[in-house]
């Protein structure tokens, strides 16, 4: 993924709101990247652009080699379906379907063959949900639901998984588990993970931390090697938590 001078404005009444003011960013395959920054700094907006949910107002944005601004609505939907995975803050699963059906549904949309049921089962097992596959969503805890959401996002083996504050509704323990699982998936399948967060415990798992302030990249740092429990300097955590 490659962004150059990406700008996004919204018309809010007669006013123009600048959500992004020229973002330059390169993300290579297999990265595990946290987007941090104060509220309103443009994290969700940037994720929506990378996720082809929206198009930039100006600048160049290539995702998997495709120029997002030039794609039609239909082409963007196709790109999302085939190559991108999403995890949302509030789990956003289909409540009338079971855990497995939620995962299977996305595979069905993709046009996967008859092995989709087995594949859904396998992915859920990978996320430690083997025993809960036939449960309805409302019979699952928040942490379990978010793991199903991750299963749904990765089932089709997308190149990039985007997660907007995936742990915001989870307690510390569940957040830890989720981050471990996401790291695991990335290590095993080489998917790229880009997630936004306010949570210092989550940031601690990131391999690369990009800080947005006022719609610009204010800081871009790597946490050195890739131990899963890198301890960040206190200053960073403070800045992020603010």
């Amino acid at each position: 993924m490659r962004a150059r001078g990406v700008t996004k404005t919204f018309a809010s009444g007669r006013q123009e709101v600048w959500a992004l003011r020229g973002v330059d960013l390169d993300v290579r395959a297999g990265e595990f990247l946290a987007l941090v920054g104060p509220s309103g700094s443009g994290k969700t907006t940037l994720l929506n652009l990378i996720g082809a949910l929206d198009v930039p107002t100006a600048g160049e944005l290539l995702v998997l080699g495709r120029p997002i601004a030039a794609l039609s609505k239909h082409e963007r939907a196709h790109l999302r379906l085939q190559s991108l995975g999403f995890v949302f803050q509030a789990y956003n699963l289909v409540p009338v379907l079971t855990a497995r059906e939620n995962v299977e549904f996305v595979l069905e949309l993709q046009g996967a063959g008859l092995d989709r049921r087995a594949r859904a089962q396998e992915v859920l097992a990978e996320l430690g949900l083997a025993d809960l596959t036939d449960r309805r969503i409302n019979e699952l805890s928040g942490g379990q639901q978010q793991r199903v959401a991750v299963a749904r996002a990765v089932a089709a083996r997308p190149a990039i998984v985007l997660a907007d504050e995936p742990t915001a509704n989870l307690d510390g323990e569940n957040a830890e588990t989720l981050m471990h699982l996401m790291r695991d998936l990335r290590d095993r399948h080489g998917m790229t993970f880009i997630f936004s967060t306010h949570d210092p415990r989550v940031v601690a798992h990131a391999v690369r931390i990009v800080t947005l302030v006022d719609g610009r990249v204010a800081r871009d740092e790597r946490t050195g090697g890739e131990p899963p429990h890198t301890i960040l300097p206190a200053a960073t955590v403070q800045a992020v938590g603010a």
């Binding site: 969700t44 949910l53 196709h78 803050q89 069905e108 993709q110």
Partner: protein, 409 residues
Amino acid sequence: MVSTRYAARSVGRNLRRTVLSIVGVAIGCLLALFMESLNRGRGELFARAGSASGLGHVRVVPAGWRGRRDPRLRLADWRADLAAAQAMSGVASVTARARAQVLLAVGTHVVPVELTGVQPDIEPRTFRYVQTIGRGRYLRADDGGALVAGRAIADRLSADLDDEIVATTVGPGGEIQSALFRLVGIVSTGSDDTDLAVCQVVLEDLQRLTGFAGAGEVSIVLNDYREIDRVRARLAGSVAAADEVMTLSELAPDIEGHFKQDAAMTRFVSGIILLIVLLGVASAQLAAVLERRREFAVLAALGMNGPRMVWLIVQEALMLGGGGAVLAVAAGVPLVWKLARSGLDFSRYLGGTYAFQGVLFDPVIYGDFGWWIVVYVSAVAMGATILASLYPAWYAARTDPAVALRVAQ
């Protein structure tokens, strides 16, 4: 398919709304079905009246009669036409008649009538009114000089049974011709209008009175009125070359038109009812879609495209429609069965019998019962719900994931 399971469970999600929608669809279908059954029954009523009134289901007429309806025209070869009609399959009865404009006189009372010469042994089977003889008796085959008239005619003539009546008409060369008849029977149909159309003598007497040989029509009643067009087509090839075959609708175009107009009216009312049901279902479905706005936003974000979204909603509509159809068929089959067996008696609203253009109609209309009920109800229920779902489906398909996710969060 998960998507079908998804649609089914979504329909089950708000059970109360779903049940109300299904009941609404079922009631709409049931009303439309009831009217459609009666509409189809009208054709049968018309055919029944036609077979009883002497019009016949099919009739052989002389060339040129169709336009002028001149009673003095005669068939080219009435015996050949009669034989051809009798040889036809599916024919219940066949009779020949001749007609003439005649003045009847008793003392100082004079009444103009259309006098019909008939074959007395067959006539009551094709002209049921003469079965209801009020006083006296009907004609016999060897009944030279006997006349049967409707009550309204007898009253105007102040004639009673066994009175002598003078009949006067114009012969082929313009000469005035008369004959003397004896009133042997008085027919009461219950309608003055229809009574005035009943005035009969045996065919040979009419030939003698008018000086015109032969017959003016061969009237045919079928076992099954739905065979009318088939019999007409086949008969047209076997009657005398100069003669022509007409159907009931052609013989009584005004009545046919009247029935068609009635049918169009009831279909229009059915259409309005279904439109109301459709709007109800559309609003219920739209409410369901609005409730799930966030769900659709998520699905759109995952890459579910517009057509798939539309298909999901249409599937849900099909389930509502299917439920409505099952309910409507379950309730409609016994209802229409009853309507077909016992009929709908509208004599109360008409105050007795109903005559139109000299044709007496039974005040009972029978609904039509058949397999078409299932096809009709399914088509109407599915059609209405699919139409109703189009706007909600379009609305769901239009969900912009970026906006909807933000708004909902």
